[in-house]
Point group: C2
Chain length 240, copies 2
């Protein structure tokens, strides 16, 4: 969706190793369920039905039940799901029982916003380094961290066992930065630059592209407008 699909072949179909895999579409929804469960838990709700959860997550309840069924049978028929128990199970499945170290490359407009964002830490993602190639920026403190030089990348990735990196550089620099990240051992990348990244098969790339989102909205908006015009034409043609 909305985004570049993972480069690995998806699906729950038989793995070489025989492990059960969760469908990609389901993986993308689990975080939404997690958020809904956290919200319910904060309101001291201890049990919720698939209908309740589905409403909170903005999906249809059959889909939610099927999604959860890939994790195991954590519900009780006639009752529903234990909010805290299910929350833990989803968190475990996604891998949020451990903390993840994240580095951000390119501390410009967007990089600053990301570095100052508190919503990552609260979900188990610890920003451990900020990197920029601009020597004028190196040393500057942002969100409690000092900006490091890109030359320190290898050392930083090793020291913090970083698996996830965020690219917020201009598009021209994205592929080169990406290559250096991969060489340093990073195997998951979130890319904000409007560029197609090419990576080896074991590396996952996801992209966030605001211009594309706006263009998709524009397409539908244009269609709505055309519909209105067509309706007007029908009226003028005396179709009613």
């Amino acid at each position: 969706m909305t985004s570049e699909r993972s480069s690995r072949k998806g699906g729950r179909s038989r793995d070489p190793r025989g492990e059960r895999g969760i469908p990609e579409a389901t993986v993308a929804r689990l975080p939404v369920y997690l958020r809904a469960l956290t919200s319910l838990s904060d309101s001291d709700v201890s049990t919720a039905s698939s209908e309740d959860l589905a409403t909170a997550a903005g999906v249809n309840s059959a889909k939610l039940r099927k999604d959860l069924s890939y994790l195991g049978t954590y519900g009780t028929r006639g009752v529903g799901y234990d909010v805290n128990y299910l929350r833990y199970q989803i968190a475990r499945e996604i891998g949020l029982t451990q903390d993840w170290s994240v580095v951000i490359i390119g501390i410009g407009n967007l990089g600053h916003a990301l570095a100052n964002y508190s919503g990552f830490a609260s979900r188990g993602f610890q920003v451990t380094a900020l990197l920029d190639s601009d020597s004028a920026r190196v040393g500057e403190a942002v969100g409690g961290l000092k900006i490091s030089s890109l030359d320190d990348l290898d050392a930083i990735v090793q020291d913090n066992t970083v698996a996830i990196a965020v690219i917020a550089t201009p598009a021209e620099a994205a592929q080169e930065v990406c290559d250096r990240l991969v060489a340093a051992g990073v195997s998951s990348i979130l890319n904000f630059a409007p560029a197609v990244l090419s990576v080896p098969g074991h590396v996952d790339v996801r992209k966030v592209d605001l211009s594309i989102e706006l263009q998709i909205l524009a397409y539908h908006e244009q269609r709505k407008a055309q519909g209105v015009l067509a309706d007007l034409d029908e009226l003028e043609a005396g179709a009613i």
Copy 2:
């Protein structure tokens, strides 16, 4: 995708009006093709084959050809596509031959970055207003615009015939802001707040959720790590 599907029923299947619709998955890729074409055009390439374009866009060439076939038959067999002609046709189809007026609500960390971003204007999206509820922020100039009060929303939307709004407020405020936008006549919303928005059927919502993206990466990362462990076990068990 990465993102909340459009609320309208998708697909190219027969419309009540009988207009041909473009599949949602194709719509999401057209902007990528557009970017690739622009890049080729800037390098003075006048003709490109589906293979060339597919490589530049990071997709498979059969998929690209099929996508383009929904727009019309703009290629020449044995030759390829005229870069500028195709670029114009895609832009027209998406609705980029007109300019779109965009407003941003919530000018905090992220809102500032968006307001300062030049990449929107260059793709036909004109940011015409910045709104915030914090009276201390109203009047502040950001990226050549002054922040307006949320109370002026109705007037601003009317004056600029705004169809598209970007929500960058905290999650708690998102639904209320959304309701006000819809009431003012906005029918396309790009939501950055980690909240499920409920809107009437004629309004399109797309969401950009960084925490979800990171969690999806974490899931795959965890799986890779488990795979390595399993391999180690096999080794220890003398499987080789």
